[in-house]
């Protein structure tokens, strides 16, 4: 399925001919765009790693005051679509545009991609190893650096990769904050003279950039690294670091991050609701849009998980060319803008699966193609931390591989799988370009309603949809935060 967009790109770029391709690609403009896009991805990824790992550490491993609250606040920005965040920022602060503005907004919206897997990995990491290190005389910082951090590697790298891919494909924020990236140029090509071919040729560059990223991420993986805790019997609480006089400043810092990521959009939306006279549709209309958002997103999450499970298992248990290939493919389409994925499924629907065209089925499929990596990352990280030795034991006791999968591997990885499902679900809720192209005629979702009303400056009418979108997305986000263990964390402070 993940191949569809690539096949489509291949077909359409081949049509363009070598001359046209060269004319589109080998220009100074493409070089500038590439440099800017890569720089933005690098800055945002670095910022997200700092924010994400920092928040996860403070929440998961210190005696931070109000850490349960911060555990949820750290995940919530994921519920805010970048187009809403950017729109509220630029209308709150005059002249808040350009590269650094985009970097700030994208970082604030996407650091949960790093925070969530890291806080989960911190919780699952083997407490015994850390205790051993400390008993051998390592101070807390050295223990963290030499024992804990290496265990976090898959979570940090996976989260960072998702952030980088997200930045490559984002249009909402960069368009509103006037930063010309590759995806902005692709959308512009569609708008300028309805130039489909030019846009798609440009999209191939994104595929190339993603390949480079994937190779880079692969290079950070250590072969034969072990991330699972074995033996040990009952799980023991991790030692929490006493922050001492740094407690309040640390809490303040997290509060500021939360205020910037959540408070700015919330205040601005409230102000717009009060200032405008336009009103949203009737209650049944709003309810229908919310219902559609929930059902297509749930279907999208289910299908994505179904497809991600074998790939995730393969990546964690049978690393090799096949696993790397399947995983890489799923990531490749993730960096493509929604409009390209949307058009590729229009192409697929019209030519191959006509009865599915403009039905919920094809829209669901589009979500799966778009968001497969989110689920693959969650599943493979969870499988990696489930001890393979338990599977070996089960098999040695005569269980068939299928039974081992059902009774050992899946139960061990359920939290990771659930987290992946929640992540995909709330990303589906926010998706707009592919939804516009593929939704059944007449079906509105919260995201499309939001787009409709902001399109005619009816901000007061749009605000309730935005609020509902964020509120409904907050439920799976809460669940994500709860699953990671940050909420149910052990209180042992030593």
């Amino acid at each position: 399925m993940a191949l569809l967009p690539l096949v489509y790109l291949l077909v359409r770029t081949a049509e363009a001919g070598a001359g046209r391709i060269a004319e589109e690609l080998f220009t100074g403009r493409v070089a500038v765009l590439t440099a800017r896009t890569v720089a933005l991805a690098a800055v945002v990824t670095a910022a997200c790693v700092v924010l994400g790992v920092g928040t996860a550490f403070l929440v998961g491993r210190t005696d931070l005051p109000g850490r349960r609250l911060f555990a949820v606040l750290g995940a919530l920005p994921l519920a805010v679509p970048t187009y809403i965040a950017a729109f509220t920022w630029v209308s709150t602060l005059d002249g808040f545009t350009g590269f650094w503005a985009s970097a700030v907004v994208l970082s604030l919206c996407s650091y949960p991609y790093v925070y969530l897997p890291v806080v989960a990995a911190l919780d699952r990491a083997d407490a015994a190893q850390e205790d051993v290190a400390r008993s051998l005389g390592h101070n807390p910082w050295r223990t963290f650096r030499s024992v804990t951090l290496p265990q976090l590697r898959p979570a940090v790298a996976g989260g960072a990769l998702l952030v980088a891919l997200y930045v490559l494909s984002d249009f909402g924020a960069v368009a509103l904050l006037r930063t010309d990236t590759f995806t902005a140029a692709i959308f512009t090509a569609f708008d300028l003279g309805f130039d489909r071919t030019g846009a798609l040729v440009l999209a191939t560059v994104l595929v190339a950039l993603t390949t480079v990223l994937l190779v880079g991420e692969g290079a950070t993986r250590r072969r034969d690294a072990r991330y699972a805790a074995v033996g040990a019997g009952a799980r023991r609480p991790h030692t929490r670091l006493r922050l001492g006089p740094a407690r309040l400043p640390a809490a303040l810092l997290l509060a500021v991050v939360a205020a910037l990521a959540l408070g700015v959009p919330a205040l601005n939306l409230a102000r717009r609701l009060a200032a405008g006279v336009s009103r949203p549709g009737s209650l049944p209309e709003i309810a229908a849009a919310a219902g559609n958002s929930l059902t297509v997103s749930a279907a999208g999450a289910a299908l994505t998980l179904l497809l991600a499970l074998p790939i995730g298992l393969l990546v964690a248990r049978a690393p090799g060319p096949l696993a790397a290939g399947a995983e890489g493919l799923s990531y490749l389409s993730h960096a493509l803008p929604g409009v390209v994925i949307g058009l590729s499924l229009v192409f697929f629907g019209v030519n191959v699966a006509y009865p599915l065209y403009q039905t919920r089925w094809l829209l669901t499929l589009a979500y799966a193609v778009l968001f497969l990596p989110l689920a693959v990352a969650a599943v493979s990280a969870a499988v990696a931390q489930a001890p393979p030795v338990l599977e070996d034991v089960a098999r040695s006791l005569g269980r068939s591989p299928a039974r081992v999968l059902a009774t050992v591997t899946v139960p061990l990885t359920v939290p990771g799988i659930a987290a992946g499902a929640a992540l995909v679900f709330l990303t589906c809720m926010k998706e707009l370009p592919a939804t516009l192209l593929l939704r059944p005629t007449g079906m509105d979702t919260l995201a499309t309603e939001l787009w409709t009303h902001t399109g005619v400056a009816a901000y007061a009418a749009a605000a309730p949809y935005a609020a509902l979108l964020v509120a409904l997305s907050a439920i799976p986000t809460w669940f994500l935060a709860a699953r990671t263990g940050a909420l149910a964390s052990q209180e042992g402070t030593r």
Partner: protein, 348 residues
């Protein structure tokens, strides 16, 4: 889980997906029943504006309209991708360029002459395959606190002067801006057009994503002036519950005949598969009828294109604008305009 058992399964799944993707087409065209009292409309115009009108149409004619909304440009791409298997029967577009692009793919059926004849020739396709529904004039929106009335330019060409450095906002990816570029090229030739837009960029023109942003910023005094379509002032006034006259931002119309005073249209075309469908025809007739034309003037502040309908309240009459005559349908021309916009550095 044994790797050796997993691998073949995943390989099969991936291979299957590939085959599925490559197995191209076959099958018949989507059935369009003539006179089945339903039509599928692809609307590149906003649902809030169009839906109330479609509801009235359905009430009066008993024809149900299944409307699909999207951005005009992406719908044009979608139609091109769908080709002759498109479920669309009618395409209502925000600007002439998109209609021209779909027409160039040979997807529109000719409209009956008695329908197109209602609309002046400059607001419809030369081959009669699409027709304008409303007209919108290019204007300079300005903030009187930052721009004195005496300093307002007679011609759009004045905006490259030092007095306007950094003071003018434009939305170069907007369809109407592209049509404006075409107007400059047709009236003054390639060389002068290129000089003008390069100079506009060099004069620190402020780039915005769309016209609403420009009008909002001008109204708030963040930028003194901007090149937009005339009706956005009405849209923003409506949201704030005031009349357009009560906003800070004011409209300035360039001298009649100036490239800056060009007029663009939104329009409609019927897809080939519904060439003889009376339902599709009924919708086109309705959009060009008195009720719809009045609706657009009153609710969306656009100019009606059919004689007899009242003009919107806060602007001069369309006939007085004397827009420069250019062929809105000429896509070759559009491509040249786009090349020019890219060259000028106004877009990424």
């Amino acid at each position: 889980m044994s790797p050796s058992r997993l691998r073949p399964a995943v390989a099969a799944a991936l291979g299957g997906a590939l085959l599925f993707a490559l197995a191209a087409c076959g099958g018949g065209e989507p059935a369009s029943e003539p006179d089945d009292k339903t039509i599928v409309l692809y609307s590149g115009r906003n649902e809030t504006l169009v839906k109330p009108l479609l509801d009235k149409f359905s009430q009066q004619t008993g024809i149900a309209v299944q409307a699909r909304y999207g951005t005009t440009a992406q719908m044009a791409a979608q139609l091109a991708e769908e080709g002759d298997r498109s479920p669309a029967e009618v395409f209502l577009a925000q600007d002439a360029g998109a209609l021209g692009a779909v027409n160039k793919k040979g997807m529109f059926a000719a409209l009956p002459a008695e329908a197109t004849a209602k609309v002046p020739a400059i607001y419809r396709a030369e081959d009669g395959n699409w027709v304008g529904v409303t007209a919108r004039s290019r204007v300079l929106v300005y903030n009187p606190a930052l721009v004195k009335a005496a300093d307002l330019p007679a011609s759009v060409f004045d905006l490259t002067g030092p007095a306007w450095k950094g003071k003018v906002a434009v939305a170069p990816t907007n369809g109407s801006f592209q049509a404006f570029v075409t107007a400059v090229r047709v009236q003054h030739g390639e060389q002068k057009a290129k000089e003008f837009f390069t100079a506009l960029k060099a004069n620190d023109a402020q780039i915005r994503a769309n016209n609403i942003e420009i009008v909002t910023d001008v109204d708030a005094g963040k930028v003194p002036a901007g090149l937009v379509n005339h009706y956005y002032l009405g849209e923003i006034a409506k949201e704030r519950g005031v009349t357009p006259e009560q906003l800070n931002a004011k409209l300035h119309f360039f001298t009649p005949g100036d490239s800056g005073a060009m007029v663009n249209v939104s329009g409609v075309g019927v897809l080939k598969r519904s060439a003889t469908d009376p339902d599709a025809r009924a919708l086109v007739d309705y959009l060009l009828g008195a009720e719809a034309q009045t609706y657009f003037a009153e609710e969306t502040f656009e100019y009606p294109v059919v004689a007899g309908a009242p003009a919107p309240a806060y602007v001069p009459a369309l006939a007085d604008l004397k827009a420069p005559a250019i062929d809105l349908n000429d896509l070759e021309t559009l491509e040249a305009s786009i090349a020019l916009i890219k060259e000028s550095g106004l877009t990424p």
